[in-house]
Subunit: 309 residues, 2 copies
């Protein structure tokens, strides 16, 4: 079983409007509400791959109940720790009159989480680790939790013999790596922010040294694929030509595939091939956290992986 | 007890953003979620006046549960009939960088309601009428319910000896009036839409004839107050000078005050004085459905009411 930690889940609400009247009253043509947040995308991807998964996280208020109900509906097993605050919503407006980038998004920050609530979460987490083959920790921390939260959770997992995959940014990422994560998965912008300078393909691998302590750093390059710096060597995976779709969940699909490959004991080149293919298939699907099996299998044979020296 | 019928309640979510980046990602500075829909504003106003009130309506899904929880929190008694669809959200973005009218609103339509669900609602409605002194029917109908829905509910109330106050628009308003509503409360635009021509203060009273069957027509004129055409005569109520605030709930406050005055047996001039004052006090408050007692009492002595011949 892979445990997916989602400390700041969301209910993603999307309104599709034919032509938005800014400053006026709009009546959306279509409305979608889905469980969101990076961790939940990872969990849904693993679930779709047929992996036994358990979501752990914090949920509060009516929006938290909405996230739990939506996961139940999708048959994704989850056990949230109740918090007093209200789980966040993200609200996206898709303006049909704007070709291409017509999406305006509003992200709530999430509930203020207290020490006692995190302690209750940790109790369930430690219990779940007993049956876990890996843990994925994904997304931002809710307000009130300190940057070392993921690091502590990774130390607990490592002590229990469970490898951890971490996908977050900033200080929480740096400290999570230092705590001995098996894999950290920044994107190029997140790595550049840590390095304090712009990065490109040529300089990215060296900058992965910012994440000392992690056994492997996998950098997502968007449509350019993946770059991995591991204890066994460095690799570059290139997906087939990019297709239009929704890139939002692609990085989460990569994190899911990396955890899956880790559990299966796939060698790094195969692990990256699957990760790049699943990322590409997810980017091609209209909804974050979903992919077409056909796209995944097609991409698998089209991805090229080469060792970088 | 006054029964307030709210067939299409809403959860009103407001995001306050310092300066909206249209087409980008925004992180709101403040988030509010409140029970909304005209009927719920009426109920909250009556509750604040100290009136014994019961909200009846349709609620579904996690958003319906959110509305119910929010009303419980505000101690407003409610008994919703569960529907399979999802109760609607309204989503408003307040752009802090735009002086004055910086609000963009997105209104979901509400759940598709089936015949069987309305039948279950009617059962609870008939029961509640036994203890009711008046019923207020407010707001739009959810998708799936026909325009005659309010008319049928008004006939049932009238047969039970309970006078009905109706605040809606279009065909539902016309048929509700024809069914014998005690008071209908269109605004000038709603009346003009029914009359099929633009209206002003001089022509509005005559156009009230569009609403044949109602015992009284009270037309709200925004900051210009009220115009009433009743079986006892016609009146005009003028509020004190308009103050900046939130006009959204002002019409609902007028409906609440009219129902309250009806139950108390206030003569029409006094009924209108209270309605205009409560409308003005609600318009002056920042949140729909709320008012400051001080503003209400102050407005009461400032409103002028005169009979129109």
């Amino acid at each position: 079983m892979i445990v997916v930690v989602c400390l700041n889940p969301a209910l993603d609400v999307t309104h599709h409007v034919d032509a938005v009247d800014w400053g006026g009253v709009n009546r959306p043509r279509a409305v979608q509400a889905r469980p969101g947040g990076k961790g939940l995308n990872v969990a849904r991807t693993l679930h779709a791959l047929g992996v036994d998964v358990l979501v752990l996280g914090l949920a509060g208020g009516i929006t938290g109940a909405g996230v739990e109900a939506a996961l139940r509906e999708r048959c994704v097993p989850a056990a949230f720790t109740a918090v007093a605050g209200e789980t966040r919503r993200t609200f996206s407006v898709v303006d049909g009159s704007v070709a291409g980038r017509g999406v305006t998004a509003f992200y709530e920050a999430g509930p203020e989480v207290g020490e006692e609530e995190l302690t209750r979460f940790r109790r369930g987490y430690e219990q779940a680790l007993e049956g876990a083959t890996a843990v994925v920790l994904s997304g931002s921390l809710p307000p009130g939790l300190e940057a070392g939260t993921y690091a502590t959770l990774i130390e607990t997992a490592t002590a229990a013999g469970v490898p951890a995959v971490l996908d977050t940014h900033g200080e929480a990422l740096r400290r999570g790596a230092a705590a001995g994560a098996a894999i950290v998965k920044p994107n190029l912008a997140e790595l550049a922010a840590l390095a304090g300078r712009p990065l490109d393909l040529a300089t990215a691998t060296a900058a992965a040294g910012q994440l000392r302590g992690a056994q492997a750093v996998v950098i997502t390059l968007g449509p350019d694929g993946l770059l991995a710096a591991t204890e066994d060597g460095c690799w570059r995976a290139r997906p087939p030509a990019a297709v239009p779709g929704n890139a939002t969940g692609a990085g989460d699909a990569v994190a899911a595939a990396l955890a899956h490959g880790l559990v299966l004991g796939r060698p790094w080149d195969e692990r990256l091939r699957h990760a790049a293919a699943l990322g590409a298939a997810t980017a091609a699907a209209p909804v974050a956290g979903e992919f077409r099996r056909r796209d995944y299998l097609g991409a698998l044979s089209a991805v090229t992986v080469e060792e970088v020296r």
